[in-house]
Subunit: 120 residues, 2 copies
Amino acid sequence: MPRNDKKMKNSQLYKGSLNTIIMKLLEENGKMYGYEITQKVKTITQGELNITEGALYPALHKLEAEGLLDVEIEKVDNRMRKYYKLTETGQKETVNRLSELEDFIRNMQSLVNPKPSLEF
Amino acid sequence: MPRNDKKMKNSQLYKGSLNTIIMKLLEENGKMYGYEITQKVKTITQGELNITEGALYPALHKLEAEGLLDVEIEKVDNRMRKYYKLTETGQKETVNRLSELEDFIRNMQSLVNPKPSLEF
DNA sequence: TATTATGTATAAGAATCTTATGTATATTTG
DNA sequence: CAAATATACATAAGATTCTTATACATAATA
């Protein structure tokens, strides 16, 4: 059974951003399951970012182990789903992560798009 | 001889962005040496991003090995400097990397700051 | 004279991700 | 209806990138 995923590989730039993405999506949507997260990200980025299972599931397990996520298992259509949601700690930490992301983006833009000192 | 660098550690988000930063700075400044790059980045980001030597020098060596950078050794004040500059290939690749960075930032903003469908 | 600044370098280990699998059920397509 | 695709989870091996800790050396400062 071949996996015909056309694995166009993500830019190295995404390395390190997965946890923040997961936490933000959970903050926004209350609870989500793994597969749903991959699809949501694909949709939002118009196919530009594809989260692989090999990255996603270990990340979810780690966030759970760190006490940032809670899990709740459901069975839908005879298929298992593991719904994740932010714990209270997770909610607080999400604020920090999003703040870090803003700083990061701002810094990257400063580096790449340096403002001319003055113009006229 | 202790290094008293107050190593406040960088956010994981920066992981994967170092090559792009180096190439952009070289595109902008023509040629730079390693230490100069660390200082420039520190200045531009107002101390928020500190590139460590352990990350920088291997990255420079790799970019050189990939044919994206050329190196030229100078001796200033009896101290060695290795000036790096983009090769022609490196210049072309820099355009791609910057384009990737723009896409990355755009995608992260879409994920984190989803637009309301319509507002009024 | 001891520390800090300048300057390069590498090695060990951590963290994150890709790639390749494995298992299982439901749905769609040829 | 059989095969492929979609849905849904999981892990292991290896690659890549980075942190941390060193190492060496000279110049400037406290």
